[in-house]
């Protein structure tokens, strides 16, 4: 049974440019399924609609037409069955690490003593118990994003949604967090949907990569690298890794006939 289903989802924005209304089609008939426990990457160049798709799954925006099902129920707005990790963590600056993690629990209506214990457990899980009383400005970028992940996981969502979660981090911290995400997935078997424009990240983490361009799904590419995935070097030298990375790149390249239309996506 598919866990998350997007059925013919379209999103039209009205954009005011120089006083005139311009219609922008951010998503155009997007359809794909995500299985229980699967990690799916939404990949593509800036403006391809991948973040819009994720925000619609979260319920932060509504689809103009089409529907989204999570666990066979059509979603309307937000829900505690989905947890969101934001691009720049977006922690509340006036709350400590622990209180930030507790925020989602409080909104879910978890009673305080239980929320305290759960929040501590998730702060532990992301390795930040020594910093639980710090405020966000006293954390490094990587630590902030760990808190963001803990906050989303603490409400025990069925689906974890992540919007370019590691995009703003230096490459070393990014690798560390990628490995940690894989290890969290190994232990919890959450369904994870993440947005990325980093092809390496997409192939490294995902079971399937939904390649998007201009608001449409170009291709869905399965990554046949077994789990658990623990050794980043071994995976990156795996022929399957390189093959699929190239396949995604070619899909994007074919989608855009101009000479250099997707400058942020080059094969290395």
């Amino acid at each position: 049974m598919s866990h998350v289903q997007l059925k013919d989802v379209s999103k039209i924005f009205g954009l005011k440019v120089d006083g005139r209304m311009q219609i922008t089609r951010a998503l155009n008939g997007v359809t794909f399924d995500i299985e229980q426990g699967e990690i799916v990457a939404l990949a593509g160049p800036s403006g391809c609609g991948k973040t819009t798709a994720l925000r619609i799954i979260m319920g932060l925006e509504s689809a103009t037409t089409g529907s989204v099902l999570v666990g066979n129920k059509e979603i309307v707005g937000c829900g505690h069955d989905r947890g969101m990790v934001f691009q720049h963590a977006e922690l509340l600056p006036w709350k400590s690490v622990l209180d930030n993690v507790k925020f989602g629990l409080a909104m879910k209506g978890i009673p305080k003593p239980e929320a305290d214990a759960t929040a501590s457990r998730y702060v532990d899980l992301v390795g930040l118990s020594h910093a639980k009383d710090r405020r966000p400005h006293q954390l490094s970028g990587g630590m902030k994003q760990r808190v963001g992940i803990a906050r989303a996981l603490a409400i025990d969502p069925a689906v974890l949604l992540m919007d370019e979660p590691f995009g703003a981090l230096d490459s070393q911290t990014r690798e560390t967090l990628q490995m940690e995400l894989l290890s969290i997935h190994e232990r919890t078997h959450k369904t994870i949907v993440f947005v990325t424009h980093d092809l390496d990240e997409a192939v490294l983490l995902a079971d399937r990569v939904v390649v998007m361009h201009a608001g449409q799904v170009r291709e869905i590419i399965s990554i046949d690298i077994g789990r658990p995935r623990r050794d980043i070097r071994a995976i990156q030298t795996n022929p399957e890794f390189m093959r699929k990375r190239m396949a995604i790149w070619e899909t994007l390249h074919d989608a855009t006939p101009h000479a250099d239309p997707v400058p942020e996506m080059r094969p290395t």
């Binding site: 319920g59 932060l60 509340l92 925020f103 390795g127 630590m143 409400i155």
Partner: protein
């Protein structure tokens, strides 16, 4: 799960504590005190050379201050000024902050009432004093209303601006975790707006002090403003300076008090911003 981040964190809190010694700098309060002493001394040295009708100087003002305090004139005036001042200022804060929050959060209210707030802020409200006197008489009430009117708008507009400056992504966090409108208001918007509210309250003190003196000049002459007028009319320049300096000191102290409260209720703000400079 030991990682780079963790090590950095635990090192700082365990073994590095003894190594962190900030370099000694001249404390800010000392610089301020020295500056005050130099300015007062200069005034004291050159002040007596000017005709006492046109200006006065510190020792003369201090003598007048003592005389007016002992005679009871100054304490009476001070108390009579403080009553409408505090009532008007507090009323402006109590009504201005929620008004600003509502205007910022709800588009319909913004469209319906925002225009009046902007008009009220930019109109010289002093022009209304003759009318206000007809409505509220010459006593406590009219003074409180004048102080309220001049303070309400900066407090309200600052709060309003603050709400509109709340990052949309932080509100998204609330929405994504299914926070209710009131939870978003209390847990996200309000804390994010606090620094703006405090800035409005600080600006409000300056406005309220001006309003207080104007009210005492233009309605029934009384309080500290009244002392200024009557001293000036009888050419007692030193005595005129006494209430001016009292008001000045009061405004500075109250502004400082607001900053202290701000550091109490919004400590993250001063930690994020390096307010002290280099």
């Amino acid at each position: 799960m030991k990682t780079r981040d963790d090590h950095a964190g635990s090192l700082a809190s365990e073994s590095l504590d003894g190594l962190i010694k900030p370099a000694w700098r001249v404390p800010s309060w000392l610089i301020t005190s020295l500056s005050l002493i130099v300015v007062t001394a200069t005034w004291q040295i050159f002040g007596p050379q000017i005709n006492p009708l046109f200006a006065s100087y510190p020792s003369e003002i201090l003598r007048a201050f003592w005389k007016m305090t002992v005679s009871g004139q100054l304490p009476t005036a001070f108390v009579s000024s403080m009553q409408p001042f505090l009532a008007g200022y507090l009323l402006a804060a109590i009504l201005g902050i929620p008004a600003g929050l509502l205007l910022g959060r709800f588009r319909v209210l913004d469209a319906a009432f925002g225009i009046y707030v902007i008009a009220g802020y930019s109109t010289p409200l002093i022009a209304l004093v003759p009318l206000l006197m007809i409505w509220f008489g010459l006593g406590f009430m009219v003074k409180m209303v004048i102080i309220f009117l001049l303070t309400f708008f900066p407090v309200c507009i600052n709060t309003w601006t603050g709400v509109r400056a709340v990052p949309k992504t932080l509100v998204d966090v609330g929405t994504a975790f299914c926070a209710s409108q009131s939870s978003i208001m209390r847990q996200i918007v309000l804390p994010a707006v606090l620094p703006y509210i405090m800035a409005g309250l600080r600006l409000g003190i300056g406005k309220a002090v001006i309003a207080m003196v104007i009210a005492e000049f233009l309605t029934a002459i009384s309080g500290l403003g009244g002392v200024i007028i009557s001293s000036a009319n009888s050419f007692k320049t030193a005595e005129m300076f006494v209430p001016i300096i009292v008001i000045m000191v009061l405004a500075v102290l109250l502004t400082h008090l607001v900053s202290v409260i701000e550091r109490k209720v919004a400590p993250w703000q001063s930690e994020i911003a390096d307010r002290e400079g280099i």
